[in-house]
């Protein structure tokens, strides 16, 4: 039986003032009792204050903008230091379905995965996912490259909707690729260091408001940069991982 108080939902956000209240309320309704941690990546639209006013979330406001990787890693540090059993990465733009968080936690609770990815491509209609041609091409490239590097088929390497158990949390706290667009590199890092990864089907929504930070030009730059990073990660020796200890919160 999953206790919601063991779950920390990490919501990294940058200028999501228009979406954050809806996101927090969705998560609070879906997982009463869970910790909702909003990591405000030095937004300039008052996202942190807006989140704090709901009274439903804890808010960490970063003093400088670190990018999504840095914000997420901050969330991991928080979750590890407060001894949460599970952490969920949940986007602040309203795309992720809060009612499916529990589907990501279940494989962790049952003990057959260390990281669970919510995949848009395990459902027949592409999980409600509509995107540009270039993004779809990038997703297809990472699917092939990552699956070859870790010798496991991962259908959605760019999904930010992920859940972690304590063992993978401690690893990510120290080694998370804390730069922009870390998701594909994270898959290879975990896969090459013997973490068990599984995927569950999820249905995502369109972004509720605001605009994505990734346009066509940046897409090419990120794809080239991330491909390079992914190959470098695969070439590195394994990192020594501590066995999971049963710490009491």
């Amino acid at each position: 039986m999953i206790d919601n108080r063991d779950i920390c939902v990490i919501v990294p956000c940058y200028n999501e003032g228009g979406n954050i209240v809806g996101v927090i309320k969705d998560v609070a309704a879906a997982l009463p009792g869970a910790c909702i941690l909003v990591v405000d990546d030095h937004s300039c639209d008052g996202t942190g204050e807006i989140a704090d006013k709901t009274g439903l979330a804890k808010v960490v406001t970063l003093p400088v903008n670190l990018g999504v990787g840095g914000a997420v890693q901050t969330g991991f540090k928080y979750a590890v230091r407060r001894h949460y059993r599970y952490a969920v990465k949940f986007d602040g733009d309203g795309q992720h379905p809060a009612d499916q968080i529990i589907d990501l936690i279940r494989p962790l609770e049952e003990g057959w995965a260390d990281v669970v990815i919510g995949s848009r491509f395990l459902v027949d209609d592409d999980g409600g996912f509509k995107s540009s041609f270039f993004r779809r091409m990038g997703i297809a490239v990472f699917r092939v490259v990552n699956s070859l590097l870790i010798r496991q088929l991962i259908t959605d390497n760019t999904s930010g909707f992920r859940a972690y158990n304590r063992r993978s949390l401690r690893f990510m706290e120290l080694h998370y690729p804390a730069f922009d667009y870390p998701e594909p590199e994270e898959v290879v890092l975990l896969g090459c260091n013997d973490f068990r990864i599984c995927e569950v089907p999820v249905k995502m929504r369109e972004r509720q408001s605001g605009k994505s930070s990734i346009n066509v030009k940046r897409s090419f730059y990120f794809m080239f940069k991330v491909l390079f990073s992914v190959f470098m990660v695969a070439l590195r020796p394994k990192i020594a991982v501590m066995p999971e200890s049963e710490e009491v919160k």
Partner: protein, 127 residues
């Protein structure tokens, strides 16, 4: 005609790329900062292998000793890399300033809170 120089340029480019890749693989250099190094290394390797762009362009820009063009390209590449690092340094300097200020303000708040806690404890003891 410049075959020995070409061989040295190819070997030099390969060694340069190997050093950069090893630095990234050993986590001494982050991937994001290595891109320009890798890009220039690949560019010089291609120029060294093909060579005809050097012999074609050199006389058209007033350089009559083609290997000198490669050195010119190398200077331009180093300039661009140094410029990238100056831009990064400026950004990091601003971030360090912000973090130092935040740290100072937090320290002030913590010291104030400690003072208040001490006063409350002393008051509780007197009562």
């Amino acid at each position: 005609m410049f075959i020995r120089f070409q061989i040295v340029a190819i070997i030099g480019s390969l060694i340069y790329l190997f050093i950069v890749f090893e630095a990234v693989r050993r986590r001494k250099l982050k991937e994001a900062y290595a891109l320009l190094w890798v890009g220039t290394g690949i560019f010089f390797l291609i120029l060294s292998l093909l060579w005809w762009p050097i012999t074609y362009i050199s006389p058209r820009i007033g350089i009559y000793y083609p290997p000198a063009s490669l050195f010119l390209a190398l200077f331009v590449a180093i300039f661009l890399i140094l410029l990238q690092y100056s831009i990064l340094q400026s950004s990091r300097s601003e971030q360090i300033k912000e973090l130092s200020q935040e740290s100072g303000l937090l320290r002030h708040r913590v010291l104030n809170l400690e003072k208040k806690i001490k006063q409350l404890e002393e008051r509780a003891e007197k009562e």
